[in-house]
């Protein structure tokens, strides 16, 4: 699971208000560096990404280079490289996504998060 996916996942347990973002507990992180660096795409994504969720998620996965805030004006090449790395090259292979309100853990195994709810959570 990459952080671009994590930036969309919420806790959909019935009644939960604070459903996003899910906190990451990382047990195994893999870095895959073969993703094409596309600056147009990254600039496009910058407007859509929840920045704090990305920074916190990256930190949980061991990457601390992202600034606390995304740049207001022209983004530098070095910033885009870091953004690219965090968004698309960090893979959570094993761990959990934790609901901040209920503490419910959604397991991540072999890179696939399991968001299926139990009967009493629907």
């Amino acid at each position: 699971m990459r952080l671009i996916v994590h930036n969309m996942l919420t806790c959909n347990i019935k009644g939960v208000v604070n459903k996003f973002p899910l906190r990451i507990e990382a047990e195994k992180v893999v870095i895959k560096k073969e993703v094409d660096f596309n600056t147009d795409f990254l600039r496009h994504m910058l407007a859509k990404i929840e920045w704090k969720a990305l920074v916190d998620g990256a930190r949980s996965m061991g990457y601390t280079e992202l600034p606390d805030h995304a740049p207001e004006a022209e983004e530098s090449y070095s910033f885009l490289k870091k953004f690219h790395h965090a968004l698309l090259e960090l893979h959570l292979e094993e761990g959990s996504l934790v609901c901040q309100e209920t503490g419910r853990k959604f397991p991540v195994e072999k890179g696939v998060p399991n968001m299926l709810l139990h009967e009493d959570e629907v």
């Binding site: 969309m8 895959k32 859509k48």
Partner: protein, 209 residues
């Protein structure tokens, strides 16, 4: 990539080893999958450099096609773990990157100021769980910011069009083409050796929020 080449690559993918009839698990054949994604990119520019979601991805045929057509990011969603494991193998085999999520797409709430550009899907037709086709369409229309490509039985055409425009926030709902979907005898209750049904390939555009 040429259409024939894409179709050839998709033909090598592994499919369901133990298809579950209740989930309407039928493989999306390489003929339909290649044409669907090729049209989405060549006629509408909806795949290359876009974020593409595949709802009910099964073994990942549509996801793989999107990736081969250079989507910036492809995310497959399915309820069945075994299928997702096959999808993982398929992605590795063709050396493409596909993120996968196990979930009930009808209950999933995706946040994200419309990170997803395009949804592609071959949803259940609703023959086992009534209304499943509409639930998938509704979910897709909430997530896609640019377009939804979906397959539905031709017999449901008027119903789908009405629901999309009236209830699912569609700006437009067009049948791009009619295809014949070959279903090989997968389940014991299938009497004929092969059956083909008429399906419509739809393109829906959501209204901007």
């Amino acid at each position: 990539m040429k259409l024939k080449q894409l179709e050839g690559l998709l033909g090598d993918l592994q499919q369901f080893s133990n298809p579950n009839v209740e989930l309407e698990q039928y493989p999306t054949g390489p003929h339909i999958a290649s044409r669907m994604l090729f049209t989405a990119e060549n006629s509408y520019g909806d795949i290359t450099d876009k974020v593409v979601a595949d709802f009910g991805c099964g073994c990942g045929t549509l996801s793989t096609a999107a990736s081969l057509l250079d989507a910036a990011c492809v995310i497959g969603y399915d309820i069945d773990l075994q299928s997702l494991e096959t999808a993982t193998l398929n992605a590795e085999e063709l050396e493409v990157e596909i993120d996968l999520v196990q979930c009930d797409i009808t209950k999933l709430e995706l946040k994200g100021h419309q990170i997803v550009d395009t949804v592609v899907m071959n949803p259940p037709f609703g023959t086992r769980k009534k209304g499943a086709d509409m639930e998938f369409l509704s979910a897709a229309m909430k997530v896609a910011s640019q377009a939804v490509y979906s397959l539905h039985k031709t017999s449901t055409r008027e119903h789908i069009k009405r629901a999309a425009l009236r209830d699912f926030n569609a700006k437009s709902a067009e049948v791009i083409c009619e295809l014949r979907y070959d279903l090989p005898k997968l389940y014991k209750f299938h009497k004929r050796k092969e059956v083909d049904i008429a399906v419509d390939l739809w393109r829906f555009e959501p209204r901007q929020n």
